[in-house]
């Protein structure tokens, strides 16, 4: 049970003056029940990769195989892939359209031919998973608060019971408490054995939550491994295309100066280690 990406290449507008190579030879495995973070700057290809995972795009070369089904298969097999891999775009509030929350939640499942009973069940379960109270069901989705809208959008994708969930910057535009709450809820999905793919440019967030991190730069993989090994790698050499959060830049500067402090996101630990170095 996994998504396997092998030497994936994607070219937009091939053969025209607008031809761009968005992905070159990307490898990735997403196991069920794990959290994978895809990190990169704008233009690194992360959004393109996201769309390959649920067959919105098909590979120019290489392959994407979801639970044994390649995404170049015929339409009927493709639709099953799309049901298995839910995709939540950035600022998903822009996809809300229904008259009521319950209609919005039912849209996905109905497209996948769930029975009315199944729809009712999955709506109830998913809304509770994302902390949305049942009394919202009859309300218009446009009358919810910003945080509720965001969670509704994610819930409406989850309602189709995917095995994997790809989220492109799910906390974009949210303030600190909102972000913390949402990420906590999403972390709970991993316990439900859902494979989460978190697309972000925020390395700090990625490192805090992921089991596996892949860093993309201009369509190529520049790192793939665990958060700890990413930190170890930074000890050896800088990683291209990685916009370091300020605290890691500080570590970098301190190390260049001669203080052998470790790469860590923990401000307290960094302060303690530096104090020890200075006093000795």
């Amino acid at each position: 049970m996994s998504i396997r990406v092998d030497s994936l290449c994607h070219v937009y507008h091939p053969g025209t003056p607008l031809e761009t190579k968005a992905l070159s030879g990307v490898d990735l495995t997403v196991e069920a029940g794990t959290w994978v973070a895809v990190v990169g700057q704008t233009g690194s290809g992360k959004s393109t990769l996201a769309q390959h995972l649920n067959a919105l795009l098909v590979p120019t070369s290489g392959s994407v195989v979801v639970d044994g089904v390649p995404t170049t298969a015929e339409t009927s097999a493709l639709r099953s892939v799309r049901r298995k891999v839910g995709l939540v775009f950035q600022y998903p509030e822009h996809q809300l359209f229904a008259e009521s929350v319950s209609e919005e939640m039912a849209f996905g499942p109905r497209n996948w031919k769930f029975t009315e009973e199944e729809i009712h069940e999955t709506t109830r379960k998913t809304m509770s998973l994302l902390g949305l109270p049942e009394e919202l069901l009859s309300r218009s989705p446009f009358h919810l608060s910003g945080g509720q809208k965001r969670r509704l959008c994610i819930a409406s994708v989850l309602a189709s019971r995917p095995d994997y969930l790809v989220l492109d910057e799910p906390t974009a535009g949210m303030d600190a408490p909102g972000r913390k709450e949402l990420l906590g809820l999403l972390k709970g999905l991993v316990e439900e054995k859902i494979g989460v793919v978190h697309i972000t440019h925020d390395l700090e967030l990625a490192l805090a939550l992921a089991d596996q991190v892949i860093v993309l730069e201009k369509g190529k993989t520049v790192f793939c491994g665990s958060p700890d090994s990413l930190m170890d790698e930074l000890l050896e050499r800088p990683i291209r295309g990685l916009c370091l959060p300020p605290i890691l830049e500080l570590v970098s500067g301190l190390r260049d100066y001669g203080y052998p402090v470790p790469y860590t996101l923990d401000a307290e630990m960094l302060a303690l280690r530096l104090e020890r170095e200075i006093r000795s």
């Binding site: 408490p177 300020p246 500067g253």
Partner: protein
């Protein structure tokens, strides 16, 4: 520059006021960071400054003019310019230089003056080589810089940024902040509304809003000293700030050292 006295504001049809009993003054040359969780009323307050919204109770004076008099709107808005959150929803023209010219054209300025201002403002935001670029081809960060240029073209004394960095990626955010630093150095009054504490490190004054009221007001060091209230105010202490406060406690860092990357490296690695 701007004075609010006992200002309250309720959106038409809303049950609760968005702002309540706000007393606030913005002085010339200040960089005021207006922070708070989403829904605390920050954007509403921003729009009161330049008379896009009129207080339902209380008075607001902008540059000495009452904001509730229609005849004052022109004068107020040419001195207090605003940049909004959504980069796309404030750009009017198809070409970069035409959008910067929009404000001066509204002011009825002669073409020569407009040309001068457009060139100058594009230079201030680093978009001079994109003068004739179509606006849809710009990145989010570039669009916000264009919006700033358009606001600067009014030659305001004060710039209000309503969550202008919220929708940008880290590079875009840094580009905008760098422009703000340069503007402030040259004497521009800035009111910067944000929920990210790592963006306020150059502010001269901080105002915390919570549920439509002012929860706290003071300078940066005062703000970080009040960190026990952060959870209640919906704020998150940036790691660099936590780091420098610890070092300050252990007397390894001078008390007046700013918790920015640049300053920390300068002091710790001379």
């Amino acid at each position: 520059m701007c004075a609010l006295r006992d200002v309250s504001f309720t959106y038409p049809g809303a049950a609760t006021p968005a702002l309540e009993d706000v007393d606030l003054s913005i002085r010339s040359g200040e960089w005021v960071a207006l922070i708070g969780a989403n829904g605390s009323g920050k954007s509403t307050l921003a729009k009161i400054f330049n008379a896009l919204l009129i207080p339902t109770r209380g008075d607001c004076f902008a540059c000495g003019f009452r904001t509730d008099r229609e005849e004052n709107l022109w004068a107020i808005r040419s001195q207090i310019a605003m940049v909004f959150q959504n980069p796309d929803n404030q750009i009017v023209a198809s070409v970069v230089e035409e959008d910067v010219a929009f404000g001066p054209e509204n002011l009825g300025l002669p073409p020569v003056t407009i040309h001068e201002r457009v060139l100058k403002c594009l230079g201030q935001v680093g978009l001079e080589d994109k003068r004739r670029t179509p606006t849809y081809a710009l990145s989010g960060g570039q669009k916000q810089r264009l919006a700033i240029a358009g606001a600067l073209a009014m030659e305001p004394r004060c710039l209000v940024l309503d969550e202008a960095t919220a929708m940008l990626d880290p590079q875009g955010r840094e580009d905008v902040l760098e422009i703000l630093r340069n503007l402030h150095k040259k004497g521009m009054t800035l009111v910067h509304i944000t929920h990210r504490l790592d963006e306020i490190l150059d502010a001269t004054r901080v105002v915390v809003l919570g549920k439509g009221r002012i929860s706290w007001e003071g300078d940066l060091s005062g703000l970080f000293a009040a960190q026990d209230h952060f959870e209640e105010w919906g704020l998150e202490m940036p790691p660099l700030v936590r780091f420098s406060r610890l070092l300050q406690e252990w007397n390894l860092l001078p008390k007046d050292c700013l918790p920015t990357l640049k300053e920390l490296l300068e002091v710790l690695c001379p």
